[in-house]
Point group: C2
Chain length 328, copies 2
């Protein structure tokens, strides 16, 4: 009898509280779906935000994971069974206007793993669409592959900017996402300054061709591109402050709530404010494979799923980077 027919162990979020459940049942898989056994899952800032009410999500959170294909739908190539995979966080329909233009991450009826209408990966098993899978090359171990999703989000910034449009970049925030963005941006061979909050954040960037500074050292109108990876109003304010006229401010994190913005500065200085979300998995995989992105130093600890409380507590600590959960 298959595990998913008798229920499984999951971390479940309800009314801002996480709890371990053992009774979670999965439906039968559809013809275009696969059943995955989750080998390793990562805690992301968004998961912490979900607990605080972001996206009004109740269910199994988690969207960064490495898994093995256990069972495939009727319409799927048998070669997938047993392969080690990652899945795109956006589970697209393949039929809407956005999908028709291959803007899959903007699918109009997408479900989002562990965030919107889709069970997440803090679970023994998960069902996803086969079309959203990427097979992990053998040369990448699970601890590297766990970074594919957030690293893809970091590479999205490069996709959105035109390389010839800027020279100086300032990244605000060097937390779990900021660390990856910093690693991606040094590959672009621009002058990079990273605004850090803790010496540990700076230490993790040692050896990279960038300049770490404190918030108080940020000067007005000095860079072409700023990236706010803080998800806080103060981060965006700093990012706008540091921008030259005609500069681009990339908003890489969601903000917990709407806030007041002085849009007149944006008009007068013709500033571009650019939202950035999910990115190209294939480019992230390649960068991990060819060794241009190092991630091992970002892993704080790995917990078995039963110790989810300790895992989330560590992830929520100041200066914490990547905390992993092993569901099986």
């Amino acid at each position: 009898m298959l595990l998913h027919s008798v229920g499984m162990k999951v971390v479940y979020l309800q009314n801002h509280k996480l709890a371990l459940r053992f009774d979670q049942a999965l439906p039968a898989i559809g013809h275009d779906e696969v059943l995955l056994k989750v080998k390793l899952a990562g805690i992301c800032g968004t998961d912490l935000a979900l607990i605080n009410g972001y996206a009004n999500f109740n269910g199994v959170p988690g969207h960064e994971f490495v898994a093995e294909v256990v069972e495939i739908g009727a319409g799927i190539d048998g070669g997938l069974t047993g392969r080690r995979v990652v899945a795109e966080i956006n589970q697209w329909c393949g039929e809407c206007d956005q999908c028709a233009q291959k803007h899959y991450t903007h699918c109009l009826s997408r479900r989002v793993i562990g965030i919107r209408d889709h069970q997440g990966c803090f679970a023994e098993q998960i069902i996803v669409k086969a079309s959203t899978l990427h097979v992990i090359p053998d040369s990448l171990d699970d601890r590297q592959a766990i970074f594919i999703e957030p690293l893809a989000a970091a590479f999205r910034i490069v996709e959105q900017l035109h390389a010839h449009d800027y020279h100086d970049v300032m990244l605000i925030g060097a937390g779990r996402l900021g660390q990856l963005i910093a690693r991606v941006m040094v590959l672009q061979k621009k002058t990079l300054t990273v605004v850090v909050r803790h010496s540990q954040q700076c230490k993790l960037l040692q050896g990279l061709p960038l300049n770490c500074i404190d918030e108080s050292a940020v000067e007005a109108r000095t860079v072409d591109v700023t990236i706010d990876a803080t998800g806080q109003q103060s981060g965006l304010t700093l990012a706008l402050h540091a921008l030259r006229s005609q500069g681009i401010c990339v908003m890489k994190s969601s903000y917990p709530s709407p806030f007041v913005v002085d849009l007149t500065r944006l008009v007068i200085d013709e500033i571009k404010l650019l939202g950035s979300r999910c990115g190209p998995f294939s480019i992230a995989i390649k960068a991990l494979e060819d060794g241009s992105i190092e991630t091992e130093s970002l892993i704080d600890a790995t917990f078995v799923i039963d110790d989810y409380q300790a895992a989330f507590a560590l992830a929520d600590q100041k200066g914490s980077m990547k905390v992993l959960i092993k569901p099986c």
Copy 2:
């Protein structure tokens, strides 16, 4: 004896009130400056905003004008004397980092005619930098040339957008600036929808290949580019509402005060919010010259400077388009 040495007639703004003054003296012109006699001036939305406190400006407002060169500085080519000209609203230094990159409208120490540290054009005479002048072709009359500055601002949008990035455009607002933007955007051969408030705004757009709709007919996520020319929070909200994911929202007007914006929508839908200000005078002149932009229908009335009160009262009326003042 030159007029500017004995004072002249101006409309003066002080503490949110306009008054006619006859005692305004101009300094001697610098070697790179010219003295102009103002033939015709236009009232812009910004002038009305200045009265309400925008930019904390006290002095002579006004920046849309047609003038004649009366006197030239020692360093200026004599051929300019007697020519009919317009001047760029931004009086740039020519020496800062922005000027070095030919981003003159973003000069770091720019003075702005009638808005910042520079006397405006609701005056018999004005001194400007010769380098900021454009000679008006003989084929354009003063009533057309008065539109060069705001039309340039409208063309700025085209400069900032990449033509291949969009197909559908929605313009919110068909007031004095919106009318010009509509005329510019139809030249780009995109599908254009204009959200109007009054039937008169729609009437002025008759014959152009565009679709006029009421605010209530705006559907969510239907266009690639929106342009907010209302300068109001409600306009920006509508502009964001109508935008597809990965769309571009151009903010063409300053907003009277900062307000709350839901930036999470911008992040999730990867929307670009783009400030837009001053534009290319030469392109505006060419478009007026070749007849591709019609403006005569936008002129409501012309007042002599002594009737400035009636002129501003008319300009401030709902549905009012371009009100002109004749200083000399």
